[in-house]
């Protein structure tokens, strides 16, 4: 097995721009920011606000002037759906992806051919940093579809010149069969799925360490250092974290290098601020804040100061790997109540919406998220009261099934539904605390 130190010593860096000195990088960012202000002036949402605040490219004199620019939120994107943020003509588009939304309706994200090329390069950067070489084969066990994970990584691997196995998500036994027949060196999936692969291999009587995988690139859901150690020990691999969100491009906003002391932000393409979510003022370096991202080079759907709702820390201290870019920590929390469960974004409001469709189930419920072994389990507990209680078991069973299927249809995730006795769910004065996340993902 290649060690972290050996990989560091190889000093493989996909794009020399990653090692560009901070001053040169800042100059490039400023130049790109000005061009961006020019470009987004074609988007009505920005044009109106720029006119009101007399914002022109000439008035952007330093990177700090970014703070004169308006904030963009997910709600803004949703209000202008579909494709209200396009800065190019529709015919220029090469692809459209989507992210899960609170109402089950995706928020669409558009790409030009140039965006797709940039995206492939961004994925190539972290893939190469994490061991992928042109002679390798990589198995992608992410979903292929509107979700950006599958296609983003797929084209990144091709960009590096390695071979892709687009295994897509699911059917773990088949994933293991493919691995044993085709000997891929790299595995791409969610971290919890990597552990499922290890479990399934053991069930089949296969030592997970005997699988050919040497490197894993994991993302799409929050995970911990403990999980990394577990994945590495069980599969005998080096595991790397990467970060991204579909609204700004998908995976590739940042990714780990062999030093694995944070994920290098691709600052030539993204201007990333770390702000106090209440005041929207910058937090001191190294302190946790909300990441607010400006896409410096996106063509189809450039965004100015997009509030990610993700909380992380940003460090600018030099990295042992030689890259000069800033590094972000793992995402340690959210400034909204979004949960990521088995890689699916779930908002408590979606669960509420599902319950509203089943009469009489909303007054008292609670959402619990656990990770007892490997995989997240979403439990929705609903208190029984006279209007929904029946002495007939078939009615009670079908009530439970209806709740489950409404949640599946609204939130796209299977939930374990429990009917509970009255007054067994804690009562709150004021805003009810509906979510109990017990996965322990957000320490540190």
């Amino acid at each position: 097995m290649t060690t972290e130190a050996e990989l560091l010593a190889e000093r493989r860096i996909w794009d020399p721009i990653e090692t560009r000195p901070p001053e040169a990088l800042r100059a490039l960012q400023l130049e790109r920011l000005r061009a961006l202000v020019e470009r987004v002036s074609r988007v009505p949402f920005y044009r109106d606000q720029f006119q009101r605040h007399e914002i022109t490219p000439q008035r952007i004199r330093s990177l700090d002037d970014i703070r004169r620019l308006p904030i963009t939120t997910k709600e803004d994107l949703r209000r202008h759906q579909p494709l209200g943020f396009l800065a190019v003509a529709r015919r220029e588009l090469a692809r459209i992806h989507g992210s899960s939304g609170t109402t089950g309706r995706p928020t669409f994200v558009a790409y030009t051919a140039g965006d797709l090329k940039t995206w492939s390069d961004l994925c190539a950067r972290f893939l190469v940093a994490g061991g992928l070489r042109p002679e390798h084969t990589a198995q992608v066990a992410f979903g292929y579809g509107l979700f950006t994970g599958g296609f983003g990584l797929h084209y990144g691997i091709e960009r590096v010149g390695a071979a892709v196995i687009p295994a897509a998500s699911g059917n773990t036994r088949r994933q293991i069969d493919i691995m044993r027949e085709l000997d891929p060196e790299v595995l791409i999936c969610t971290p919890s799925y990597a552990l499922t692969i290890a479990d399934t291999a053991r069930e089949l009587g296969i030592d997970p360490r005997s699988l050919p995988i040497r490197y894993g690139h994991f993302g799409g859901e929050p995970w911990t250092e403990d999980m990394r150690h577990q994945i590495e020990a069980e599969l005998g691999i080096l595991a790397f974290n990467n970060y991204g969100l579909s609204e700004v491009i998908g995976p590739g906003v940042s990714g780990e290098c062999p030093a694995r002391t944070g994920m290098h932000l691709q600052e030539d393409h993204f201007l990333v601020e770390c702000l106090d979510p209440e005041t929207l003022e910058p937090v001191p370096e190294g302190q946790p804040g909300e990441l607010v991202i400006t896409t410096l080079t996106r063509e189809a759907m450039p965004l100015v100061r997009y509030r990610t709702r993700d909380i992380a820390r940003i460090e600018r201290s030099p990295c042992r790997c030689g890259r000069q870019t800033a590094r972000m920590s793992r995402v340690t929390g959210r400034t909204d109540d979004m949960l990521i469960i088995r890689g699916v974004n779930v908002f408590p409001s979606q669960i509420e919406e599902a319950l509203l469709r089943v009469e009489g189930t909303t007054p008292h419920y609670v959402i619990e998220v656990d990770r007892p072994e490997r995989l997240d389990i979403l439990t929705v507990k609903v208190e029984i009261h006279p209007e929904i209680f029946s002495d007939r078991m078939d009615r009670m069973q079908s009530l439970r099934e209806r709740i489950g299927s409404e949640i599946q249809s609204v939130a796209g995730i299977r939930a374990h539904v429990e009917l509970v006795e009255p007054r067994s769910i804690e009562r709150f004065v004021g805003k009810a605390k509906r979510v109990l996340d017990r996965r322990g993902l957000h320490e540190g």
Binding site: I384, F389, R392, M393
Partner: protein, 145 residues
């Protein structure tokens, strides 16, 4: 002719069955019979008591969800085929049995069963027309006390 049955929602975990039974006992109410339908996660406890309205109040005050259902008590010959005869009558009239359970006591050579029907009134008519004995509440409570 119909009996009032109390049904309670219970979570399926240790100790949940004892609490409502204790509450009823503390009120001095005797349970004539009961049945429990359960899944891995929850159960429905069904009770027949004489003082059903008092029992319902006691249970609701203690925080349980209680529903009231009319059920039918039928005398069944306690010999092979006794129940089959009753069911044949019901089937012939296209009456669906939602659920049923046996009474814990028997008298002479008859056993008593509790039936839950969607339409108890029609069921009683059908059973009587077939010459079967439907037990009314007074008779039942006189017998057990």
């Amino acid at each position: 002719m119909k009996l009032q049955q109390l049904s309670l929602f219970l979570e399926n975990r240790p100790g949940r069955l004892g609490a409502p039974l204790e509450a009823i006992a503390a009120a001095g109410i005797n349970i004539l019979t009961l049945s429990l339908a359960d899944t891995a996660q929850f159960g429905i406890l069904r009770l027949i008591v004489q003082e059903w309205d008092q029992a319902k109040r006691v249970l609701e005050q203690a925080g349980w969800v209680v529903s009231l259902t009319e059920v039918v008590a039928v005398d069944v010959q306690d010999r092979p085929g006794g129940l089959a005869e009753v069911l044949k009558v019901l089937e012939g009239a296209d009456l669906n049995v939602e659920y049923m359970y046996a009474f814990s006591v028997r008298r002479g050579d008859e056993a008593m069963l509790i039936f839950r029907f969607e339409d108890p009134d029609r069921a009683i008519q059908v059973l009587k027309n077939a010459g079967l004995k439907v037990v009314n509440g007074d008779e039942l409570f006189r017998f057990v006390s």
